[in-house]
């Protein structure tokens, strides 16, 4: 770990200046593949399936960006990163884009010099405990041993939460989700804490998910979003508007089923036309082809389809839309207009 961080730091020094100057968009086009940083494996968000193909909510976003830029959703090189290595990987130019359920915070945005391009999942930190523990609120966890992934905001939220409620706890730092799962299942920690979506995903992979509950307390705001390096605004725009395109597509009723018809020729809805490139020149402004948004949506469907397919209520993870519904449905998803 020490070594990789050090070389990472050196690489930051060596590569960053060059990478920032050249323009990531041109680099990606020249290379023909998108390097996308994802987790080392969190079912539903980013994990390789039985055939070694990466799939999940974050993975789908990487594929949408690759489709928008290169026209091919398969042209993605997935780079697994841990909580500790992810920022170094992005800063050094090892990845073009980090889609790794990363919380948007002030210090990461300002001090670490990254640009969060939006929020693709509104989350909050929760606690999972075995049902047999008989605990119904996180405030009853006085003296409990809690497993946390180190190098995340959860560590700080946890310290704040227990301090605020004036109760004690014993943190057990762990490096990856798999390790945390092993310790938690063996009873080496009473509770496991991370983002509620991550807890649901972890619980879904248990042998007996019903034996475990996620406590009702959500102790923090965790807006998870993809991020890029600070200072490359053209690339930031491409990634930001790809996410907006997926969100807007759902709002406007553009799905992977009807997108073929809608994009064949200009229709009645001018905003759909502009989005899909049958009217106006939005793609050109981004430095992409006119059908960039169409390719992005075709890659895995609109935001709603991606959500339902990977983490929605009909998947083992079973997350409801909640805050992640469209603003028209009482959620927080709100794409700026395409004009």
């Amino acid at each position: 770990m020490k070594k990789s961080v050090f070389f990472g730091a050196l690489t930051v020094a060596g590569v960053a200046a060059g990478a920032a100057a050249a323009g990531t968009l041109d680099d990606v086009k020249a290379r023909g593949t998108l390097n996308c940083g994802v987790t080392t494996g969190l079912v539903g968000f980013a994990a390789p399936d039985a055939n070694g193909e990466w799939e999940g909510f974050d993975v789908a976003f990487c594929r949408a960006v690759a489709a928008a830029v290169l026209g091919d959703p398969k042209a993605v090189e997935f780079v697994p990163t841990t909580g500790k290595t992810r920022f170094t990987a992005l800063a050094s130019g090892e990845v073009d884009l980090l889609a790794r359920n990363t919380t948007w915070t002030f210090s990461r945005d300002v001090d670490l010099k990254f640009d969060f391009i939006g929020v693709n999942y509104y989350d909050g930190q929760g606690f999972m405990i075995p049902k047999s523990l008989g605990v119904s609120s996180a405030k009853e966890l006085d003296g409990a041993t809690v497993c946390i992934q180190t190098g995340t905001t959860t560590e700080l939220n946890l310290a704040d939460f227990f301090r605020k409620n004036n109760i004690s706890y014993e943190p057990v730092p762990i490096e990856t989700n798999a390790e945390g799962q092993a310790q938690y299942l063996a009873g080496a920690c009473d509770a496991y804490t991370t983002d509620a979506s991550g807890l649901a995903a972890t619980r879904a992979s248990f042998e007996n998910p019903a034996d475990h509950v996620v406590l009702p307390e959500i102790v923090s705001k965790e807006p998870l979003g993809p991020l890029v390096r600070h200072g490359d605004n053209e690339w930031g725009d491409v990634v930001r508007w790809t996410l907006n395109a997926l969100i807007a597509a759902e709002e406007m009723g553009v799905t992977s089923a009807n997108i073929g018809d809608l994009s064949a020729s200009a229709g009645d809805n001018p905003e759909v036309n502009r989005l899909l490139g049958t009217e106006g020149s939005l793609g050109e402004m981004l430095g992409l082809s006119a059908d960039w948004a169409k390719s992005a949506i075709m890659a895995g469907g609109n935001y709603g389809e991606v959500f339902e397919k990977n983490i929605g209520e009909n998947t083992p993870i079973g997350l409801s839309r909640g805050l992640n519904a469209q603003w028209t449905d009482g959620g927080l998803l709100y794409s700026p207009p395409f004009r």
């Binding site: 020490k2 050090f6 010099k113 560590e155 009873g187």
Partner: protein, 418 residues
């Protein structure tokens, strides 16, 4: 009459730096040194300027900022409101703790195994050979992870101790609890404690501990004086006075009196809430790391000890046997003191290896220097270069200190040639 063939002093020409063999090697060395230094200067300047372009000028101000995270094992007071510097210090002490524990245990096991491997008993010798070969030929990280997994999976969770007919019970007269979170052992408590003194408002040192250590050293010093007196009497009169009871008394009586005066008693761990409370808690991350590092390094030390013993000529043990010494006394009085001279130098590198290998602690979540300063602090502040450089400097300082101490010891043990 003599004729000088040397060139006269005054005719030094610049070209002589290359063509004159007297100067050439110096020239080459200086040029190489300049090249070497400018390469590193260029690397450093490049790093700093590129970091500045990123808006991340190297700065150590983050050390004074609030850390915000908790650390489970801390030898000094620490809370999430403490600074990053203090968090680094907590990590440093944890590193030193596991390094010292590891070095002591590895030495004891290593010497034992090394001697045993030379045993004439075929069974014992082969068993030791198997131990050495398995441990030193598997990466230490695997051992650490294996020990941790074994502790977590095979030992009972604390809630197994609950209930009228629990699945697991405490060991050694109900005083030691062995769980998959760690081992709880009784802790010494003082009902009439002297309290703490704080050093520079940063650390508290227990006065009880200072008092006990002071009395212990005074007792040992007294015992030594008694022995010297007995030696002197034996020298002059030829009769050695019986002093063993006085020497024991001078060490133990004051200590026992002090402990009684302080109200010494043991605090036993008891299951309360989610965990055992009370007692000294040795987390399984510490135990796994300690055991793995000790057993791994002990395998190397065993080979060093074996080599050291074999380096002592056979004639030495034959001569000792001829004098009528028994086997174990030959080993401790004749062979090992001579073998030490061969053993100590490579032993230093094993101690250094163990200390540096302790940075693998993060694999089991042991919060050492790598876990705090170069782990969480690095991640929360994003100061990769600063934290890693600082961490490297600290490891360098620890290693050089160990080398210095061991070199001093080596010089003392060295054969004094006359």
């Amino acid at each position: 009459m003599t004729t000088s063939t040397d060139p006269s002093e005054g005719t030094f020409k610049l070209s002589m730096l290359i063509y004159d063999t007297r100067y050439r090697s110096i020239t080459i060395q200086i040029v190489a040194l300049i090249g070497f230094l400018s390469f590193f200067g260029w690397l450093a300047a490049n790093t700093i300027s590129n970091l500045s372009d990123l808006g991340k000028e190297p700065s150590f101000r983050f050390l004074g900022e609030q850390a915000g995270y908790d650390v489970n094992q801390r030898l000094i007071d620490y809370s999430s409101q403490s600074t990053h510097l203090r968090a680094a210090f907590v990590g440093l002490l944890n590193t030193l703790l596991v390094a010292v524990l590891g070095c002591v245990t590895a030495t004891v096991i290593g010497v034992f195994v090394g001697v045993m491997r030379l045993s004439k008993n075929w069974m014992i010798a082969k068993l030791m050979a198997v131990y050495v070969e398995t441990f030193r030929n598997v990466p230490v990280l695997m051992w650490i992870v294996l020990f941790m997994a074994a502790l977590i999976e095979s030992l009972p969770a604390p809630n197994k101790f609950r209930g009228a007919d629990p699945e697991a019970t405490m060991k050694v007269f109900d005083s030691v609890a062995i769980t998959n979170r760690g081992v709880y052992i009784p802790e010494p408590l003082f009902s009439r404690s002297l309290g703490d003194i704080s050093v520079g408002s940063a650390f508290d040192i227990s006065l009880d501990l200072i008092a006990i250590l002071a009395v212990l050293f005074a007792g040992l010093w007294g015992a030594r004086k008694l022995r010297q007196r007995a030696d002197a009497i034996q020298e002059s009169t030829g009769v050695r006075p019986v002093t063993w009871w006085a020497r024991l008394a001078v060490v133990f009586v004051p200590i026992i009196l002090l402990l009684v005066a302080l109200g010494f008693h043991l605090g036993y761990p008891a299951l309360k809430g989610f965990n055992f409370q009370g007692g000294t808690y040795m987390r399984n991350s510490l135990i796994a790391l300690w055991l793995a590092l000790s057993l791994y390094t002990a395998a190397f030390i065993a080979e060093i000890v074996r080599a050291g013993i074999l380096a002592v000529s056979q004639g030495q043990s034959e001569a000792a046997a001829a004098l009528g010494l028994r086997g174990n006394r030959i080993m401790s009085l004749v062979i090992l003191p001579q073998a030490m001279r061969v053993i100590i130098p490579p032993l230093i590198s094993q101690y250094l290896n163990l200390t540096k290998n302790s940075s693998l602690a993060i694999a089991v979540g042991y919060m050492d220097l790598t876990g705090t300063l170069m782990g969480i602090t690095l991640n929360q502040t994003g100061r990769e270069l600063e934290t890693v450089l600082l961490g490297m400097l600290i490891y360098l300082a620890i290693s050089l200190s160990i080398s210095a101490v061991m070199n001093w010891y080596n010089n003392r043990m060295k054969l004094v040639e006359r």
